[in-house]
Symmetry: C2
Subunit: 297 residues, 2 copies
Amino acid sequence: MPVQLCLMVFIFVVIIIIFSGEARSLKVENILYRGKSEFQEILVFESSIYGKVLVLDGLVQLSEKDECAYQEMIAHLPLCSIPSPKTVLVVGDGDGGVLREVSRHPSVEHIDICEIDKMVIDVSKKFFPRLAVGFEDPRVHLHIADATEFLRLAPVGPAQELVEKPFFETIARALRPGGVLCNMAESMWLHTHLIQDLISVCHQTFKGSVEYAWASVPTYPSGVIGFLLCSTAWPPVDFKNPVNSIEKLEGALKHKRELQFYNSEMHSAAFALPSFLRREVSALHESSTPARQIGDK
Amino acid sequence: MPVQLCLMVFIFVVIIIIFSGEARSLKVENILYRGKSEFQEILVFESSIYGKVLVLDGLVQLSEKDECAYQEMIAHLPLCSIPSPKTVLVVGDGDGGVLREVSRHPSVEHIDICEIDKMVIDVSKKFFPRLAVGFEDPRVHLHIADATEFLRLAPVGPAQELVEKPFFETIARALRPGGVLCNMAESMWLHTHLIQDLISVCHQTFKGSVEYAWASVPTYPSGVIGFLLCSTAWPPVDFKNPVNSIEKLEGALKHKRELQFYNSEMHSAAFALPSFLRREVSALHESSTPARQIGDK
């Protein structure tokens, strides 16, 4: 039995542990890059079925085959929910995929991106040109900086603070009226308690609507990723029924490259939640309270 | 490097290859059962994060944590789409989970199940009582038989024929007017060409509506599974907007055990398809043709 398993190890050269008790492995055709930046270990390999894969500190960040799901959803869920987005701040996204998606919106005039690790950008430009194309848009302004400093947060520690209360408070203060936040928010199958915490903090911090959505991303833990959408007290934002349909924006469907995952049906469907999640995350029920009632308390 | 990987093999005792080029591994807390029936190898183990897992011939069939998604969707997508389902045939489902879900419907009077391997049923009754409870319903009639023979198909080969044209033709003949088929239908991320073939065959065979839906199932390849829904020529069936809402059926939400995954919002959302799938599976476009036009050709 052990012999048999070890043989398999030679076939699957990279084994990536993604969660205690679960591992996913992708067959490696070719290792394209290995490096260590000031912040993390960077690995790029060619997998046999998901195309090229970017791994940071042992965690899959994206694969060419399924990056569309994450990048398109995290950009268009918020930007299609408000009438005419003008200014966008992207935190992280050294690969450029979110920038590529944000730039589909003709109303957007200015895009700031704050990425701490320049090496991720350089690696992406070399190995993932279909994502890094996002940096080429003249509306993009790159800031190589710690997001907590960029946002004038008191620096406390590493990336963890990007999902903690002071971070959300800073974002809430920075948003203009009608502005929205879309934050990556865990797996509904694995992290219901973290989702509960995130939603509770955002209900306290933002005074408008707080909604949870999800998408299928095969190379992420349990094959899904969640998104938390938050709006300011006024005007009200109905995230589930987008006012700014991507299909009606001139040139948006094919800008840089054709949309692969997102469409208006997928937008609304992303807010349909399994019955277990509705029950286990009690904070979800607050979402049904009209925005103004929460805001005025 | 190989040493490090071999150490990991000892932690993850069971490595399950689920698709050429990709593998998923679950940490094994305890192996509960190993056996070999006339048809296949059967393995039951306790995993650390997905509960007990049933494996047939090396392929994960279900885990306690995520079985709800598959069992509930494959049962309620068809049964909630028609007004008052009376008679149901379940092919396979030796674990009983689909029976548990079908029996939520008070209108159902008779449930036939055709499972080829009695040992799967026995193992399920011993290790998965929350699924095997489905066999206890007095409306259930168990047939230990080859489904192709049960349906009076000429026997040709193994399970493969359950997704081939003669099988669908037999089902189409067996359906009463207004009857529907729900068939497991591959992963949208991995098998678009197979989905294309399945939908094309079903468009030729069934004379009503043919629709594709999907659900998140973490322990299946690429973390999703598809469903193909087909109806007879008349009366028309609108799979996307269920007429027989589960929330309105007396006792259905808590029958045997509370619904975990399915609800009416998840039902409609399951038919929202990523843009790449819409484009790659040209047969999907036929779905938008009104049922009677296809049927009358």
